[in-house]
Symmetry: C2
């Protein structure tokens, strides 16, 4: 069958242009299904929307854009987020249930005109950063299939990197929305904790979980974020976070980076060189580099798996693990059952430690406008991670694990490329509520990086023209609900 | 020995008048020691300051007031709060240590000119609301020695009610700063969580503990609170809470009270009648009574002892309880060891429940300016509580247990008296940061109540003239640190 849209980029600007030229959402649905089939990777999606039903929904949008931000935009959703009528598996077939209602994030996407194409693969129960901990086929890394795709939001990242959808939802508790973005040369937006309601998401660590966005550009990711963010009274973890429009990057800003002694690239000089090249880009953008001792951040991260917060994962599936322990992926089970060594007093003790660490780090964090870290120390192959499933998973989380515990937001973008073509991402990290500020800096950084987009060979998007950003003293305010 | 100050009230106004008339702080120290001896209750203080040293400190203040808010004011401190050079026992001799430094609250009192007279008895490890759970003699209730003194801050409340000191510090996690105030006809100010730093306090539930104040009047309690409140960076639980001056009570305000179906007086009609008489006073002050279903508040309280938050008490003395379980009061031990049934997942589950309950109650709480509840359902005798040490302790906490978990502040004041002369207190409860608002209402309510002060037979203080309070839309803001 002829595919007139075969060459169409699914970024929002290209889609809008196609719709302005007479393409219909039903055409795009057909093209998306064709691409998924042509792609031939059975690991990306766990389930797909009923094609006829999705075509009908596309036709119901009407023939011409109606002004909604995501009109006719095809989206993939990680399979730990409820989409009404589809199964939610969390990559554990024995756990699966058919969702009666959309998660709040999904219902907001639909309200903005988006079309949900299917549910994507993940590290089971969103526990992992590698993408291998699934009973389904492992999605192939879009840049280099010998590499792990990253996780836990593996399928969502690969779907975007391969141009199958415009953007995809992930979740991010410990880095699941950033590491796969970095490993597939795309953008991963991990918002302020609570900015997007998590009602309708299978919890990993309920107090830390975020819905995240994978997209080809910062601009697209932020558009999706804006459509989903906003206070939801029925979600106890929802917060009233201001979603300011993305402005100009400030002409001068202070960027905290790990001291050389506290940088780790797993012994990979190419990763180190790529990070340093990106730091030069940041300086060219007006960023003043401020070296910070990262040991205290790594100590925070220790609370997540080595400390009592792993018990949040146990609590999330307490009933299930009691009856179905053998249905759980062996590595996942080993990690979650590690929570058994902690009693309730330990959990409170962990919270006291975290409070003290947050207080101690408020000084260094207050001295800079954002942090810039490698998204992960180095890429790893499927073979390597299979041989060291826990140790190399931990390696991936070095620069991501502390972020949600510290109540920070983050934005992963492709950085300067490595000579060997392997993916080399960086992540901007900011205070709660600084999502727009990170986007303003991140889109410029992405444009400078000259990394081809995803697996598509397209150039990185140019930074759009913007109105000036708010002055530094107008930093967004977070109201804790 | 002649005691020229025998008749001196130790409220701040009387003290100031005496100092203006030539009395010296050393004279007051002598009088305080004389009163403690004359009082003849060995249960009030666990230890006293060295008299010569305190006299020297008093003399070092100079002969005339220097403008400091608490110049020459004699104060008692609950014995779970560090005073440098004195032992901190937490009412557990095997746990005792000599404090090297003052708690932040104590050092701020000293900086304001206060003189620390001694350390007061308490329910061991601040676990209890009755005052009986101590290996030391039980302090006698100042109003009626057949009644329990209330706890956990038993000695501090009795010391104030008997006129031994101007005010006394307590701590309050579940009601320990309110129940003893109610049972001894005095004022108990339980500030916003984090408003007074808790650094240097033996933790009960570290995330909920407050330093509290017992005084003869709201005005005095607020003066002590103001001297101690303020952000302390080295205390991870300290918050930047605005301590506004006490203004006029607003001419009209909405007061949430339990519906008749959710009021409990333990079958004591006199307690019920006294509460209703105080409600009439509130209405006369301009308060519009709004009946609220209190079952959800009682459900919050269930998390504290029946739920996983009891594990905070376990964590606070983890090392000690492992080695010294037999040195712990049997009732206290039974309660704290109850935490053993909770694992770390349960602790997180309890926090999820609490988050949901807080969200659900934000509507009812937002519909009123404050709550007004009985401080406890009914007074109980030592004999009754000795026979039912856990059940009647729980009864005392009906209207206090939920407050800190909900991040509310509270002010206990004597209410309308009962015909039988037993103590009948009420407690105002407000949002975090509303301490000044509660004080403005509370001092008027106290003045109307016509309850004799403490055990002194003095009339309740008249409400002072005040500048107008801020308008309702200028409610104090709490910044979460």
């Amino acid at each position: 069958m002829a595919r007139p849209l075969e060459g169409l980029g699914l970024d929002l600007a290209s889609l809008a242009a196609a719709y302005a030229g007479g393409t219909t959402p039903a055409d795009v649905v057909d093209e998306v299904f064709a691409r998924i089939e042509a792609c031939g990777d059975p690991g990306i999606f766990i389930s797909l929307a009923d094609r006829a039903a999705l075509r009908a929904a596309a036709e119901a949008l009407g023939a011409t854009p109606d002004g909604r931000a995501l009109w006719g935009v095809p989206v993939a959703v990680k399979d730990n987020i409820d989409v009404a009528g589809l199964e939610t598996t969390a990559a554990c077939p024995a756990f699966a249930y058919r969702a009666a209602e959309d998660a709040v994030a999904v219902s907001r996407l639909k309200a903005a005109g988006a079309l949900i194409v299917g549910k994507t693969n993940l590290d089971q129960f969103a526990t992992g950063l590698v993408g291998l901990r699934t009973p389904y086929p492992v999605p192939l890394n879009a840049v280099d299939p010998s590499l792990v795709p990253g996780g836990s939001s593996s399928g969502s990242a690969v779907a975007v990197a391969k141009g199958l959808v415009a953007f995809a939802l992930g979740t991010d508790t410990a880095g699941s929305g950033r590491v796969p973005a970095g490993l597939n040369n795309i953008v991963g937006l991990k918002p302020t904790v609570g900015a997007i309601p998590t009602k309708g998401v299978v919890p990993a660590c309920k107090s830390l979980d975020c819905v995240s966005v994978f997209a080809l550009s910062v601009d697209d990711a932020y558009a999706a974020f804006s459509a989903m963010a906003g206070f939801e009274p029925s979600d106890p973890f929802s917060r009233d976070v201001r979603t300011a429009p993305v402005g100009l990057a400030p002409p001068k800003f202070r960027v905290g980076v790990p001291t050389p002694q506290t940088r780790s690239f797993g012994g990979d000089p190419a990763a180190e060189a790529a990070y340093e090249a990106t730091l030069a880009d940041v300086a060219a953008l007006g960023g003043e580099i401020v070296e910070l001792d990262f040991e205290p951040f790594f100590a925070v991260a220790g609370l997540l798996y080595s400390g009592p917060f792993v018990a949040e994962r146990q609590e999330a599936i307490r009933g299930f693990i009691e009856t179905n322990a053998d249905d759980i992926h062996p590595v996942t089970r080993q990690i979650i059952e590690g929570a058994r060594r902690f009693d309730a007093g330990h959990a409170f003790g962990g919270m006291y430690e975290l409070a003290a660490m947050r207080r101690a780090l408020s000084g260094p964090l207050g001295s800079v406008d954002c942090l810039l870290v490698p998204t992960y120390p180095r890429p790893r192959t499927v073979a390597e991670v299979s041989a060291h499933p826990v140790g190399l998973n931990s390696e991936f989380g070095a620069y991501t694990n502390f972020v949600n515990l510290m109540d920070l937001c983050a934005l992963a973008v492709p950085g300067r490329p490595r000579p060997d073509g392997l993916p080399a991402g960086v992540t901007l990290i900011g205070a709660a509520g600084a999502d727009a500020r990170l986007a303003a800096i991140g889109e410029r950084l992405h444009a400078m990086g000259e990394t081809p987009l995803g697996a598509l060979g397209l150039p990185a998007p140019a930074a759009p023209d913007r109105a000036p950003a708010p002055a530094p003293d107008e930093t967004a305010i977070v109201v804790v609900g």
